[in-house]
């Protein structure tokens, strides 16, 4: 395996040991903690800006428009940073009848959930921030904090649009969480571990979607549908259906308060795609075709982080395609789709996967 060129673990160990050489260990750990924190925030914000720009361009392409093209030279590259600056200079209003404590708490919960899940993504070999042996379980656990933030935002705003939006969002997200959980379970059965890096390195001889054939492909499709609903995006964006609910659960939020919900929404899309990449498409593993040694060797020279980002943005593009192509569903259609179709199907897929795994029917 030539992948070891890009293994970050020795480098990180080297930095840690040399730091410990010149200063006491607690200071070295604190310094590393600060650096890691800054890296998390920078990546988080930069990715959000990239995603929003991408969404606007992709949306424009699907609607036969040009999209942002004035600010920042050709292609409107500085449009989104300019929007962020504008949002920063907007007043954060105080509501008269709102439950102020919960109202201010809601953005914290939404951001907390998405930052924590974000830190679990495996960027490269040895290159994830939170490495746990229960990684994927942890992701499922903390991503449910986000729904709490959404419900609180809707309830505390004391506005009817917010309340309806939050309730719809809550019912939808908790329902689709089941399908996500079962699809993740399918892949845990396939890999025999919950450690994200182990799941990725088990795919060295073939991505899970190829190794697991029919059940894996079915689980992948169900995961994409449910993940799209989890990220509150169209065709499941009825929580913020602008024609009927203004902006759904964040109607009453202004300025950067609203910005945090927006930020989390886009990062959740990235995280959904990132987890799909990790579980089904081999994470940072390069594409190998059995028999083509030269091709495989060339693929090995591309760093893992490029593979990870490439696959993730491919899935993000797919999800954006879906968003701008399908009409919005009604709440009863959304719940019917989950409880009567996706849930039973994903249970069957789970059993099928178990049968395949136990009797050696996987590749």
């Amino acid at each position: 395996m030539t992948l070891d060129y890009y293994n970050l673990e020795p480098l990180l160990m080297y930095i840690h040991t040399s730091l410990c050489g010149v200063m006491p260990e607690w200071l070295a750990l604190t310094l590393e903690g600060v650096v890691v924190g800054v890296i998390i925030l920078l990546l988080y914000v930069i990715l959000a800006i990239v995603m929003i720009y991408m969404e606007r361009k992709v949306c424009a392409a699907f609607q036969c428009r040009i999209g942002p093209n004035r600010v920042g030279g050709k292609g409107g590259l500085l449009q989104v940073p300019a929007d962020v600056l504008k949002m920063l200079t907007k007043e954060i209003i105080k509501l008269k009848n709102a439950d102020n404590f919960l109202y201010n708490l809601a953005p914290f919960l939404v951001i907390l959930a998405s930052v924590l899940t974000f830190s679990c993504l495996p960027w490269n070999k040895g290159g994830e921030i939170l490495h746990m042996n229960i990684g994927i379980f942890f992701i499922l656990a903390v991503s449910s904090i986000g729904i709490l933030g959404i419900l609180l935002a809707g309830w505390s705003s004391n506005s009817k649009y917010s309340l309806i939006g939050a309730m719809r969002s809550g019912a939808m997200i908790i329902s689709y969480e089941l399908s996500i959980g079962i699809c993740v379970l399918t892949m845990v059965v396939m890999s025999g571990t919950m450690d994200i890096q182990m799941i990725v390195s088990n795919q060295a001889n073939g991505w899970n979607i190829f190794k697991g054939h029919i059940p894996a492909i079915a689980a992948f499709i169900i995961y994409l549908i449910a993940g799209n609903a989890e990220a509150n995006r169209g065709p499941f964006d009825l929580a913020e259906a602008e024609q009927e609910l203004t902006a759904g659960y964040h109607t009453e939020y202004s300025g950067l308060h609203f910005g945090f919900f927006y930020l989390a929404e886009y990062l959740n899309l990235f995280i959904t795609a990132g987890i799909a990449t990790t579980l089904f498409l081999g994470g940072w593993m390069p594409l190998h075709i059995a028999g083509l040694e030269g091709f495989n060797a060339v693929m090995d020279y591309i760093p893992g982080v490029v593979w990870f980002l490439g696959k993730t943005f491919f899935i993000v593009f797919l999800l954006m395609w879906i968003r701008w192509t399908f009409p919005r569903l009604r709440i009863d259609q959304v719940l019917t789709l989950e409880w009567k179709y996706l849930m039973p199907t994903s249970l069957v897929v789970l059993l099928l996967m178990t049968v395949c795994k136990i009797y050696g029917l996987t590749f």
Binding site: G33, V36, G37, I40, L41, L88, T89, K90, E91, I92, I93, K94, K96, N97, L112, V115, L116, S119, I129, L130, H131, F137, W155, S157, N158, S159, K160, Y161, S162, L163, M167, G170, A171, I174, S175, E177, L178, G181, I182, L185, V188, V189, G192, M194, T246, G255, L256, G259, F260, D332, L335, T336, W339, K340, P344, L351, T354, V355, K357, I358
Partner: protein, 116 residues
């Protein structure tokens, strides 16, 4: 080791929101108008409070969710060892899933999954 980074990630998330709001409060202009604190309802004065009794249908789905979510949690340890344990794991989980699917079928039959 991950425990340190867990704390770092939590602090980073809190810092992001606190810093953002602080900067916005410093930079953003402020004006006072009693109308601004009103709930947004397209210009019409709000009729009554918004903290009202809400449609019970959502509650029904929340209860169903609870049952299946706990099921997923129970299945995770099983999923890790399923391939090692072999046929026994498949048979035992089949009983577990059978009872749950029976529950789902019952809810379906009773009309709990219909949106009324």
């Amino acid at each position: 080791m991950y425990f340190l980074y867990l704390i770092v990630a939590i602090l980073a998330a809190i810092l992001l929101v606190v810093a953002g709001i602080t900067v916005a409060k410093l930079v953003a202009p402020r004006s006072f108008n009693p109308q601004k604190g009103e709930p947004y309802e397209c210009g019409i004065p709000t009729h009554g409070r918004s903290w009202v009794q809400f449609k019970v249908g959502y509650y029904l789905f929340a209860i169903l969710f609870l049952m299946f979510d706990i099921e997923t949690v129970f299945l995770f340890p099983w999923a890790v060892v399923a391939a090692e344990v072999g046929t026994y794991a498949l048979v035992s989980v089949s009983f577990f899933l059978f009872i749950l699917i029976l529950g789902l079928a019952y809810a379906w039959k009773k009309g709990a999954l219909e949106w009324k």
